[in-house]
């Protein structure tokens, strides 16, 4: 990929930053949540917090799949991996997520059959090639990756591949946003809406946030200029007393989403009555369970799993960081016991996790700030 030389336009960044400063009321403190972990990564990478006035604060949201996965689910997946003849497959992000007795990677080092895949279709292929073994795909992700798991399950059923199953940890973003809005210690003024999730679900599902809670939502792209423009659009709505859903990323996100993807999600999955999110607790109807018609490929149906609720290490404050009550460096373990090389909490695992992003970029000279200076 060779486009790195053509960087963003510093002049435009400067204009948008100036407009943000002009619109932000100095007597007010703004708390804006970027929901998506991809945005969190970009915000730290480009030092966007330094470009914003001091009274416009960015709160990092729950949109990082491995970060919100409770440890008990990892343990459940690994319990299947320990069975005779089983092969545990997952995306690379999952490999370093801590379980009670170590991450999948550490289990692999101890001889458990664990393989990283880049696509759920790779896991299905592995099952086809190993008919004598059981291949489980440990599925994580929001609506961005859930349709690909659904299509893989359709394919498994069409071919009747009996030695394949999926442990679905898929979650949906809307109930998590609702839980945050209902949480008494969260005072937010607006949301930078997720980009790629919205290519699937569209912009309509966010309308309740604007209508019922009076908070602006701007679905945003991932470039520094996109994110700053989205923040500007939120501040403009607030200044004009509006609360609406706006689509800054219309060049990729259709207002109504991707119908084919929504259809396949509805075919394969149903909502769980409730699901535990790390840091946010149990949220009703916030996760996807495989429908009975596909039970033969549902790990939870085929195997008995421990299903234990495992609390995080006491000293780790992942929950507070996930809710934006603490900044990453305010956690007692940050940079000491908990580092990207040896993560205690999942927020330190993925580049989309607030702690890993903060650890990686916080000491860097802020390029965006330099562009504005």
């Amino acid at each position: 990929m060779k486009y790195v030389d053509e960087y963003r336009d510093p002049r435009l960044i400067r204009q948008v930053a100036a407009e943000i400063r002009r619109l932000a009321d100095p007597d007010r403190h703004y708390r804006i949540m970027e929901v998506c972990g991809g945005h969190t990564h970009a915000i730290y990478r480009f030092g966007l917090a330094d470009v914003l006035p001091g009274n416009v604060e960015l709160i990092h949201g729950p949109g990082c799949p491995v970060c919100v996965l409770p440890m008990g689910r990892t343990d459940d997946g690994l319990s299947v991996a320990e069975r005779e003849g089983a092969i545990f497959t997952a995306f690379g992000d999952v490999m370093r997520v801590p379980g009670t007795h170590g991450s999948p990677l550490e289990h692999k080092a101890r001889g458990t059959e664990i393989r990283m895949v880049y696509s759920p279709l790779d896991a299905l292929k592995l099952a086809r090639a190993n008919p004598g073994r059981h291949v489980m795909f440990f599925a994580i992700g929001f609506e961005t990756t859930a349709p690909s798991t659904a299509l893989t399950l359709l394919q498994a059923k069409a071919e009747n591949i009996a030695n394949f199953s999926v442990l679905s940890n898929h979650v949906t973003i809307i109930p998590a946003i609702r839980a945050i809005l209902e949480s008494p210690d969260m005072r937010l003024d607006g949301f930078v809406g997720p980009g790629h999730v919205s290519t699937v679900i569209g912009c309509r599902p966010y309308e309740f946030i604007a209508r019922n809670y009076g908070k602006p939502v701007v679905v945003s792209g991932f470039e520094p200029l996109d994110i700053l423009q989205s923040i500007l659009m939120i501040l403009r709505q607030l200044a004009e007393g509006r609360s609406e859903v706006e689509n800054q990323y219309a060049r990729v996100v259709p207002w109504d989403g991707n119908f084919a993807a929504l259809k396949v999600l509805a075919e394969v999955f149903e909502l769980r009555p409730y699901f535990e999110w790390r840091g946010l607790g149990f949220i009703s109807q916030s996760a996807l369970k495989i429908r009975d018609a596909y039970a033969a490929w549902d790990t939870e149906h085929r195997f008995s799993l421990p299903g234990l609720r495992v609390t995080d290490p006491k000293a780790a404050q992942c929950g507070e960081v996930l809710k934006g009550v603490l900044k990453p460096h305010q956690c007692k373990l940050f940079g000491r016991e908990c580092t990207p090389e040896s993560p205690v909490g999942a927020l330190m695992v993925s580049s989309e996790g607030a702690c890993a992003a903060y650890h990686h970029y916080v000491h860097r000279k802020s390029e965006a700030a330099a562009a504005v200076a």
Binding site: M1, R45, Y118, P120, D122, R128, A129, G141, R251, N258
Partner: protein
């Protein structure tokens, strides 16, 4: 996983309508295009790819912008690793889906 990889559609083989050949920075692989079946896709179009599936059709400028973004975020090597790592398109004989 959540950041999309831009690719150019090179070939849409009629005998296997679920899959298309895409090119990402010179590397060609097949990806599943079922989620774009409502779109009038043709060779030369650009798409965003997540975990082996094309998820959105985008403009050429949009693709260049996404490639630049991945590079800026230091995710370009991981993206190429993902594209090169897709195993599912070399399938056993007789599998037609």
């Amino acid at each position: 996983m959540c950041l999309a990889i831009p690719g150019k559609l090179i070939d849409l083989p009629p005998e296997r309508p679920q899959f298309a050949v895409v090119e990402v920075a010179g590397v060609r692989r097949q990806v599943n295009i079922d989620l774009l079946k409502d779109e009038p896709l043709q060779s030369g179009d650009w798409v965003l790819i997540h975990v082996g599936f094309a998820m959105s059709r985008i403009s050429e400028e949009g693709a260049a912008e996404q490639a630049r973004l991945l590079a800026m975020l230091g995710e370009d090597a991981a993206a190429m690793e993902e594209i090169e790592g897709y195993e599912f398109t070399s399938r056993p004989e007789g599998w037609t889906a």
